[in-house]
């Protein structure tokens, strides 16, 4: 066991060295990290706008664009194909908006419709391309699930530049983004052109999705957008911290995902990155101090116990009050009339020095009496 651990330790050390020395690995790690950061950042906006599904629809809508770009140019140049993806992704987005504003259909219906329509059409084109005699056609289907191994330095540069522009725009229009996300109608009354802000945000989301298609693929891309943001939301109540955290979670998902897939042969990178991001989500949902399930449950149980204790104390207070001498002893039997009474709550009250027990008689202490009477006044003032 010990041996195994140290063996792994050496592996990790070796791996880190490799990341800095091996060209391919360095390119892929850098690429997935940048991709994770930019999608996490923009994903925060999508999540807060309740447009989680939009990312899914956009990425699926990008597929026919890739196929058509190949059919027109006959070459597999990444930038050309992604340009096609961008165009068809944008068309899909505007169709979704059109359907929502022009018809009675709800947005989830519109998203589902566009998603399946574009994806179906894209698949059709892919099979059509595969039947072509062109020897160049092999490998277009890598855009379904992505293939990080095909990343080259120029791809990483493209990602870095887009991320830089995106960051700049976000910082410039931070105030406008924030108010639009929170209250669009109010933003309009302040004189801002909400359509411009909206288009700006949506365009960047589309751009980020398209950037990730090569690495993560059409099918899983939306997870890159949503998972880091959903995880980040659990840890903070500030928008700026949330965006920052989502970027960090996204970047780490990229780095860890690449590391796992590189050290375990034949694991494809995209799905592994998405799984790592999901681990962030699961961990955050359970262990976040303020919103996590674990601490919520602990707080819930503790509150219940406190309440039980207070109720018992209040019941005893009512009995003690009937006597002039508050520390007059009463029979423990009396407490059985109170439904919430258990022996252990009594013991807890003794431990807190609220109650004294003498044989099978109990009496309130000075402290217990004071606490109990405060409970009453506190409750009546808290009701506002």
């Amino acid at each position: 066991m010990r041996f195994l651990l140290s063996q792994e330790f050496v592996d990790i050390k070796e791996y880190i060295e490799l990341v800095f020395t091996d060209y391919t690995l360095r390119t892929i790690t850098l690429g997935t990290a940048i991709l994770g950061a930019v999608t996490g950042m923009l994903g925060s906006f999508a999540v807060l706008r309740k447009q989680s599904l939009l990312g899914d629809a956009i990425s699926h809508a990008a597929l026919p664009g890739i196929a058509i770009a190949f059919l027109i140019t006959g070459a597999k140049d990444t930038n050309t194909l992604l340009l096609g993806a961008l165009v068809s992704g944008l068309i899909g987005t505007f169709w979704i908006r059109g359907i929502v504003t022009k018809t009675h259909l709800k947005s989830d219906t519109a998203l589902g419709l566009i998603l399946s329509l574009f994806f179906g059409f894209g698949m059709l084109l892919l099979t059509f391309i595969q039947k072509q005699p062109n020897a160049n056609q092999a490998g277009l289907d890598k855009y379904l699930f992505g293939q990080a191994a095909t990343l080259v330095e120029s791809d990483v540069w493209t990602m870095a530049i887009v991320t830089g522009i995106c960051l700049l725009v976000m910082l410039t229009f931070w105030k406008e983004f924030k108010i639009l996300l929170f209250d669009a109608d109010y933003t309009k009354t302040l004189g801002f052109n909400t359509k411009t802000i909206d288009i700006l945000i949506t365009s960047f989301i589309v751009l980020a999705i398209v950037l990730g298609l090569q690495t993560v693929g059409v099918v899983l891309m939306s997870a890159m957008l949503l998972a880091p943001a959903a995880a980040a939301r659990q840890w903070t109540n500030s928008l700026s911290v949330m965006v920052l955290l989502a970027a960090i979670f996204g970047a780490f998902s990229g780095v860890f995902g690449t590391a796992i897939s590189a050290s375990q042969n034949n694991l494809s990178t995209g799905p592994v990155i998405v799984l790592v991001a999901s681990v962030f989500v699961a961990f955050s949902f359970i262990f976040s101090p303020s919103r996590g399930l674990l601490f919520k449950q602990i707080r819930f149980i503790k509150n219940r116990r406190d309440l039980e204790l207070h109720k018992t104390l209040a019941f005893m207070y009512n009995i003690a009050e009937t006597h002039e001498d508050i520390s007059h002893p009463h029979a423990i039997k009396l407490l059985n009339n109170f439904q919430g009474y258990t022996r252990s709550t009594l013991q807890k009250l003794v431990d807190k020095d609220y109650v004294k027990i003498d044989g099978n008689m109990w009496s309130l202490t000075e402290r217990g009496f004071e606490t109990a009477s405060n409970l009453y006044t506190k409750q009546s003032t808290e009701d506002e």
Partner: protein, 245 residues
């Protein structure tokens, strides 16, 4: 004095699909009144406010503020939306929401600074929420959230305030706090227009009233037109409100 018209609405018609929600509304609101808009559910009360503020695009009609088109007079107008229209789980604080009231005067790109923060803190104090400035907004009660929205509008330091059901879902003490603020606004010469549901409190709270049910039924001083006749016309049934006098 009373004759200055703060808000003038001409021929306003709004439709969502085929059915008109508002039909041919003409309305003149004098400066310095505290006005209730009343009418049954679906009468178009919120729609009227939203159409005046340009949130909804009307099919026909125009709105002028102090004699000029609304688009040129935005800085004179503040809006308090319905509390339920936003997601209160949004990651931000009470102070931050109130600061949003300063964004309009800042314009594009410019960030709020110390001056804006001071104005926001003052507004929070006016609504009795200064102690909650750093509180995450989801941790506020319904009444407190309403006060935050009110403070955000106060920061705008406008001349005309439009409020969409500010008393909805708030407790008695918040209702009193809010109406006191509205009365103070009127005293300062501001015009306040409120979508209101509780007919019993209209005579006590407001001095001006508009009856609305797709069409405008009546508008004028509460003491002249808040009567059974107009209520029946608006609500369709023989509506009797006992006005103690």
């Amino acid at each position: 004095m009373e004759n200055t018209i703060a808000v003038k609405v001409d021929d306003l018609t709004v439709a969502y699909n085929y059915k008109p929600v508002l039909w041919d509304i003409d309305l003149e609101i004098p400066e310095g009144v505290l006005m209730a808009i009343v009418g049954p559910n679906g009468a178009g009360k919120s729609t009227l406010i939203k159409a005046i503020l340009g949130i909804l695009k009307p099919i026909a009609g125009s709105v002028s503020i102090y004699g000029k088109p609304y688009e040129k007079q935005r800085q004179l107008v503040a809006y308090v939306p319905q509390k339920g229209s936003v997601d209160w789980d949004f990651p931000t604080t009470a102070l931050d929401v109130v600061m949003m009231g300063t964004y309009g005067s800042l314009g594009w790109i410019k960030r709020p600074g110390q001056k804006e923060k001071k104005a926001a803190l003052e507004a929070l104090e006016k609504v009795g929420m200064l102690a909650f400035k750093g509180r995450q907004i989801s941790q506020l009660s319904g009444g407190q959230q309403q006060r935050i929205f009110l403070a955000r509008a106060l920061v705008q330091n406008a001349s005309i305030y439009f409020m969409d059901e500010p008393f909805q879902g708030v407790d008695a003490s918040t209702e009193i706090a809010i109406i006191n603020i509205l009365k103070a606004l009127r005293k300062a010469g501001k015009t306040v227009i409120v979508v209101h549901h509780d007919l019993q409190t209209v005579p006590e709270y407001f001095d001006w009233v508009t009856f609305l049910n797709v069409k405008k039924i009546a508008t004028g001083p509460v003491k002249d037109i808040f009567n059974d006749d107009n209520l029946t016309k608006t609500y369709g049934i023989n509506y009797k409100v006992s006005i103690q006098e």
